[in-house]
């Protein structure tokens, strides 16, 4: 397929700089593009590749000021990453064949209701009394327990597992191996030192447009619902414990863990490998830096914290700089002590 640069610029409401007559036939990465490729520049780390790129066209920001000559045609837009994402979406729709139909053997429990154009892969399992929406795709080895609801246009990839009574909204995505509704870590210590398992009787609710990464685990509530609100995106291998509540449009990167009953606000960014203790609240718009450990509620909206235990990002950075100098600092202190002790006046 060939696409005129003009047509692409029009789609993106962008402006063309350079030769507007060419065509592109593929999408590529800027660091390895060849003639015919359409690329984008968003992260400034990759700017150097723009000047040597063989790409036919490059999507750049309106603000981008080239420091050298560029061979490629530029398409200027407000947000190059978003624009490129639209192009990828368009390309995906052109090239990808949506899975549909029922492969055999698959398991359909009694009294479940089915929307139109559902894909049910071989060896997928849907329990009794479920409600499956239109255009839902359930890949092979996916497991959906009894009494679940899956909203329209949701996709459950291979081997994802949903325990009974859980509810997924519309346009949700579970990547392969994700677990929704597992029984959380609730054990009451007994006098003899053993643990009694606390029954976990609640469920998980994912609102519309929630995406859950591969092998991520979300525990059901002890009672009520573990709740992930609209538009929130969760990466791979994340742990969400029982009774957690996460707001709208929050992003949680890989391998982070949220302990039981904590509440995360809207539009938060939780970077990778972060740990958040139980029973605390994180205000809307909070950013938590990678590998941080959050042990107290964050009340100030828009906070940016870092460290384990976490405090203000910039303050943490300053402390980290001194941390590296600690041996030198220690030496200075010992020298000072020496001098002071030797001072006649100090005696």
């Amino acid at each position: 397929m060939e696409f005129p640069i003009k047509q692409i610029a029009e789609m993106l409401q962008g402006t063309i700089e350079g030769n507007s007559e060419g065509n592109v036939n593929n999408i590529g990465k800027i660091e390895s593009a060849i003639a015919g490729d359409l690329c984008f520049l968003s992260n400034p780390k990759y700017e150097k590749y723009v000047y040597e790129s063989e790409a036919t066209a490059i999507i750049v920001s309106n603000e981008f000021e080239p420091k050298q000559d560029i061979k490629a045609t530029l398409i200027r837009v407000e947000d190059p990453y978003l624009a490129f994402s639209s192009i990828l979406k368009f390309y995906e729709q052109l090239t990808k064949v949506a899975k549909t139909g029922i492969e055999q053997p698959s398991f359909q429990g009694n009294d479940s209701s089915w929307g139109e154009d559902v894909y049910l892969g071989a060896f997928s399992y849907v329990g009794a009394n479920c409600k499956i929406g239109n255009n839902v795709q359930i890949y092979p080895h996916a497991y959906i327990g009894d009494h679940c609801e899956i909203g329209d246009n949701s996709v459950i990839y291979a081997g994802a597992k949903i325990y009974e009574k859980c509810v997924l909204g519309k346009h949700c995505v579970l990547q392969a191996g994700a677990v929704v509704g597992s029984h959380g870590f609730g054990f009451a210590p007994q006098e003899d030192g053993s643990f009694q398992a606390v029954p976990q009787l609640g469920n998980v609710m994912l609102e519309d447009f929630v995406e859950v990464g591969a092998n991520t685990t979300i525990d059901c509530a002890t009672m009520g619902s573990t709740l992930i609100k609209k538009g929130t995106k969760i990466d791979n291998l994340v742990q969400i414990a029982h009774n957690v509540e996460i707001g709208e449009n929050t992003g949680i990167a890989a391998q982070s863990g949220i302990s039981g009953s904590s509440k995360i606000g809207d539009k938060c960014i939780i970077a990778g490998q972060v740990g958040i203790v139980g029973h605390i609240s994180i205000a809307n718009g909070t950013t938590v830096g990678a590998q941080s450990g959050v042990s107290k509620s964050i009340k100030q909206e828009g906070s940016f914290i870092q460290g384990s235990p976490a405090f203000g990002y910039k303050d943490n950075l300053k402390s980290q700089i001194i941390f590296r100098k600690l041996p030198e600092l220690n030496k200075q202190i010992q020298e000072l002590r020496e001098k002071i002790l030797n001072l006649p006046a100090a005696e």
Copy 2:
């Protein structure tokens, strides 16, 4: 269903404070309870909700001293969390229908023996020469390799996988996606820099009442057994490497990792995202704080350690407090140096 408060208090061997004539018809969370609900108060963080709660009855500790008026009837017990757990267990038994019977298609290998009242979900796989106890529940997509033993009343949730020759005791639980018996990270470096895989020929043994969280992985021993003793509870996404040994009634929270051949004692608490290096021993009753890294054996029973690398919890806390003040401290040191150098006597 309605339950008289009197009957509940009797079950829990608790004492009633306030109106003893009411009934409850549901169990709820104290922060969102409505009339008819039975709740509990254990974590002091939630005390404020007691005074405004619409719940009909609240289970509290014998020691609890109200600071304001409370509308609800109180049921006083020794351990509210344990008491509530019993109520939940009772409620679960009343309302939950145990899965039983054989769903088709499922796979039963040759020469396996089967206890009574086993549940075998569709697409579950049990290999050859296995021994499955009474009342065992094997959910859809669970995989049990050849020569495994599963004790009475154990539950293997959807898509959990058990490699060949592994042994589970009675009353064990594997949450969805848990892997037991995978081949550990054993690679012998060769002269050319490549790795030769070391065959992993041992197995995993879980004693009675061991519970394993969703997507947790437990590697088989190179030889012999990776061993998890009676009553130990392991949360989601935990990594237990080959030849590890974990004592009785120990709890390991989500995303922690225990490296090869380490031994963890009885009644330890390993908080979330902890890392423990290989070939060390952790004494009975040790508590390891969240995100800690343990690089040396802990010989003193009942230790409480924190940090990466970990040392005494309180000492770590004190160092962390100063860590935050490092920029200020550095400034003080530089001022002192300035002063000392300018002292005529210091020359």
Copy 3:
């Protein structure tokens, strides 16, 4: 089976010290060996067991100098771990029956090509247009999407999942529950604060002899390939994000995470629970200590770094030592300040 010590020494090109006439009939761990066992000593931590061992023969290093009498026959070799690994491999080949044949029901998509002696477990799924090599073993519940290639002698354990278009070389191993080709965390923020999912259209390529641990996740590239080169070994619960590139013969221990588009060199060692940010490069031969956070490119080959954020291993160690003394240091500083302020000369 009984094996003469002489035969084993010959196989390993080792030299015998002590009684060369005995036989061994089993392989054991040095700390719990009994008569008839063959053991090895590699990690010096285990040396004490050599002197009290009931083992019949022990493989030790040429350099090993006993400090007490040893009852067992010693077999001296250059690398005891490697030698023992060969023995285990030999033993495995003698005792393990390779899975082969097609179990039913299994799913074979249209137009896929099949090598010789393939094992296809019950409930395994191979999509359309796949190319499966000779001696490939695909265990129950494994999922292989459309258009995948699996090279000769590769093993896909139970419930591992491979998304469409991914390519595995020869002699690759995926442990149970591993996910290869999941859609990475690519979301373009929109003006209203919501995220637009960026289509992930690339794949994952594993070159020959790559091994992937249980429940590890490797995301497909947005475009092009996420690439793991020849001989690299990845442990359990590791996260490899989209567009990452990992060199040859690198080892990555459990629960580490590599963020998007980062490049790791050849022969690196990434210890457990390490985090590496996106868009950076790690030079060949770099060692990253456990729980470290790497936020900048490492340009010097053979570096050894530690900490979060990570810097030189030895420097980090020195700073960590002072970190523990911070409360004492703070006290010293405050005492010095007191003294200086009280000095008449300081005014």
